[in-house]
Amino acid sequence: MNRLSSFNVVSLTFGFAFLYLPMLILVIYSFNKSKLVTVWAGFSTKWYGELLSNEAFLDAAWVTLKVAVISSSIATVLGTMAAYTLVRGGRFFGRTLFSGMIYAPLVMPEVITGLSLLLLFIGIGMDRGVLTIVLAHTTFSMCFVSVVVSSRLATFERSLEEAALDLGASPFEAFRLVTLPIIAPAVVSGWLLAFTLSLDDLVIASFATGPAATTLPMKIWSSVRLGVSPEINALSSILIGLVASGVITVSLVSKRHSVLMQKEERIAERIENN
C-alpha cells in the first residue's frame, strides 16, 4: 500500500475543501435554529418541518419532478434512437453533419437555447407552461443521452446483433432482445443524466415557462432574491442527500457486479484447467 506524501495530503485537502465546504456549510446551517442564516443559534430540525407545509415549494417540487421524469424519458428514447442511427447507420448522406448537429447543444450557451425556444413557442402560439418546459428540457438533454449511449454502442460487438438476425430475429427484435438489454446500463445512466440536468435547470426553464408553472430551481432562485431563508437550506440539503445516495448506490451496485463477474470467470477457467 502506497502511503500518501505530505504534498498529496495537502492537495487532497484543498481540493476537497474547495469542492465540498460550501455544501457542508449549507447542510450545517439547515439545522440552524435561528432564522438568520449566518448566525448559529443551536440545533433544530424545524425548517424541515416548515418546508413540508410550504405549499408553494411543494407545488414547485411536484412540477419539477413531473417535468424531469417526462422530459428525461422522451430524451432517452430520442437520444438512444439518434445514437443508434449515428453509430450503426453506416455512411449515409449527411452523417457528419447530423452527428455534429446532435452534439451542438452541448456547447450552445443555455441562454441562446432558451431564447430560441421562447421565440419558437411564441411564434407558433403555444401557451407556455409545464408542456413547454418539458419540450425545452427534452431538447437540450437529448444530446447528453445520445453521447452516453453512442459511446457504449461504439464498443458494442456488432456480431451480437448479426447473430440475432442470423438466428431469425427481425432487425427490431434483434434490437429489443439483444442490443437493448446489453446497452441498458448506458441507457439508464443517460436517463439519470437527463433527469438530473432537468432537475437543476434554471435558465432554460425560465425562458420556456409561463405564469402557470414554476420549477423548484426557479422558486429557489426567486425566494433567494428576497433573502436566504433556512428553509432553502433544508430543501437543498434534501436534494444533496437524494443525489448523493443515488450516486453511491449506483456505484456500489456496479462495483459489486463487476467483482462478482470477474470471480465467476476465474472459477470457470479453473474448472476447465482441472
Binding site: A163, L165, D166, L167, G168, A169, P181, I267
Partner: protein, 373 residues
C-alpha cells in the same frame, strides 16, 4: 458390400446445395470477391482457406446474407437467395467471437433461434436438451456465458447455430480462440457432430492444418479468387499452382526450362550440375520455364550417392529437430536450399548427419509436381 465414396462433386448429375455463379463483390474500388463460381454439395464439410484479406470472410458473409453480391447469382438448393435477409435464410453461422448473448443463459442462448420461429414449448425443450447433450453441456444450461470456460463457450456457439437444424452451417474461424491442444480435440468433435447431424458445414480458416483435418474439400483462395478446389489429399499432393503448393505445408520449388524426355516425362534444368527428371500429366512445350514442387518428406538424404535419377550433392546448413521429424536444410552448389525431412522412428539413434556435412539429396521422378505457374 460396396462402400460408396462420398464425392458428390465428381458426379455430374448431383444437384449442389449452394451454387455461386460469377459472383463478384466490390467495396468501393476494392474487389473482395472476383468473378467466383463454385458448387458446394449437401453433407459436405467445405473449407475456405486463405491468407487474411483473400475474401474468404466476405464469401461467408454473402452466404449468411450480411452482404449482397455486386454481380452474379447464388442459389441455395436451387432457389435464388441473393437479396434475402439473414433472418429469412435456412443458413446459420457460428461467429469467430462466438457472439453469445451475455445477458442470456446457455439454455436461452440455444433456444433463441427456436423461439423466433415460434416452436411449440415441448418441442423447443426437447430440441435444446438434444443440443446440450450433443455438445456435452447438460450441466451448464443455467450458466451465463461469462460463467463458463472458453472451450465451453465455443460449444454453446456451435449448439446455438445448430439448434434450428439449418441446411447450411457457416463456421468463421471456429477454433481460432482455443489453444492448440483444445483445438485439435475440437476439430475431431466438429467432424463427429457434422457426421451425426448430416448438416453441410462451410468453415473459414487461415489454418491449413485445420482445413486439411476437417474438410472433405478445401478451396484455396487468394485475392478474391479460388485458386484450387479439391480434396485435402489432392491439394497437398497435386497442387495446381506454386501458390497452392507453397501455401499448404512446406515445399521445395526448383525452377528452370523443361525439355520433354518422353510422353509424360520431362527434364528440368534448374541450374544445378545436371537436369532433373520429373513425371507430369501436364504437357509443356519445349524450353518453357516450369516449377517443380517437391514436399520435404519425399526427399531422401544420404551419405553416399544413391542409385536413381535425381540426386544432388550439397551440404547440411541447418537441422531442425521437431521431435517426431527432423528437417535438414541442404545447400546445393548453386546456392539453393533444399528441405529434406526424415521421420525419427527410433528413439535411440545416433544422428548420421551434422552441420556442414556433405550429403546427397534425392527423389524419385514422381515425387514432385511440375507446374507452369
Amino acid at each position: 458390400m460396396v462402400e460408396t465414396v462420398f464425392e458428390p462433386w465428381a458426379d455430374p448429375n448431383a444437384d449442389p446445395l449452394i451454387s455461386f455463379k460469377n459472383v463478384t463483390k466490390r467495396f468501393g474500388d476494392f474487389v473482395a470477391i472476383d468473378d467466383l463460381t463454385l458448387d458446394i454439395f449437401e453433407r459436405e464439410f467445405f473449407a475456405l482457406l486463405g491468407p487474411s484479406g483473400c475474401g474468404k470472410t466476405t464469401m461467408m458473409r454473402i452466404l449468411a446474407g450480411f452482404e449482397n453480391p455486386t454481380l452474379g447469382s447464388m442459389s441455395l438448393s436451387g432457389h435464388d437467395i441473393a437479396g434475402i435477409p439473414p433472418n429469412k435464410r435456412a443458413v446459420n453461422m457460428m461467429f469467430q467471437s462466438y457472439a453469445l448473448f451475455p445477458h442470456l443463459s446457455v439454455w436461452e442462448n440455444i433456444a433463441f433461434g427456436l423461439r423466433r420461429d415460434g416452436v411449440a414449448k415441448d418441442v423447443l425443450h426437447a430440441r435444446v436438451q438434444e443440443m446440450l447433450k450433443l455438445t456435452r453441456l447438460e450441466k451448464f444450461g443455467r450458466r451465463k456465458p461469462h460463467q463458463i470456460s472458453g472451450g465451453q463457450r465455443q460449444r454453446v456457439a456451435l449448439a446455438r447455430s445448430l439448434a434450428k437444424a439449418p441446411k447450411l452451417l457457416l463456421l468463421d474461424e471456429p477454433l481460432g480462440a482455443l489453444d492448440k491442444k483444445l483445438r485439435q480435440e475440437t476439430q475431431f468433435e466438429l467432424m463427429d457432430i457434422q457426421e451425426q447431424t448430416g448438416t453441410t458445414f462451410v468453415i473459414v480458416t487461415h489454418d491449413q492444418e485445420e482445413a486439411m483435418t476437417v474438410a472433405s474439400r478445401v478451396a484455396v483462395m487468394d485475392e478474391g479468387r479460388i485458386i484450387q478446389v479439391a480434396t485435402p489429399e489432392k491439394i497437398y499432393e497435386a497442387p495446381n499452382s506454386v501458390y497452392v503448393a507453397d501455401f499448404i505445408g512446406d515445399v521445395n520449388i526448383l525452377t528452370g526450362p523443361v525439355r520433354a524426355v518422353d510422353a509424360d516425362t520431362y527434364s528440368l534444368d534448374f541450374g544445378g550440375t545436371e537436369p532433373m527428371t520429373a513425371a507430369s500429366d501436364r504437357t509443356f512445350s519445349e524450353g518453357v520455364t516450369a516449377h517443380l514442387a517437391i514436399r520435404p518428406e519425399k526427399i531422401g538424404i544420404h551419405v553416399e550417392r544413391p542409385e536413381g535419377p535425381n540426386s544432388v550433392q550439397g551440404k547440411v546448413l541447418d537441422i531442425a529437430y521437431l521431435g517426431n521429424l527432423s528437417t535438414y536444410h541442404v545447400q546445393l552448389p548453386n546456392g539453393q536450399i533444399i528441405k529434406a525431412q526424415t521421420a525419427n522412428t527410433r528413439r535411440v539413434s545416433r544422428r548420421v548427419f551434422t552441420w556442414e556435412d556433405p550429403v546427397w539429396v534425392s527423389w524419385s521422378a514422381t515425387a514432385g509436381v511440375l507446374l507452369d505457374c
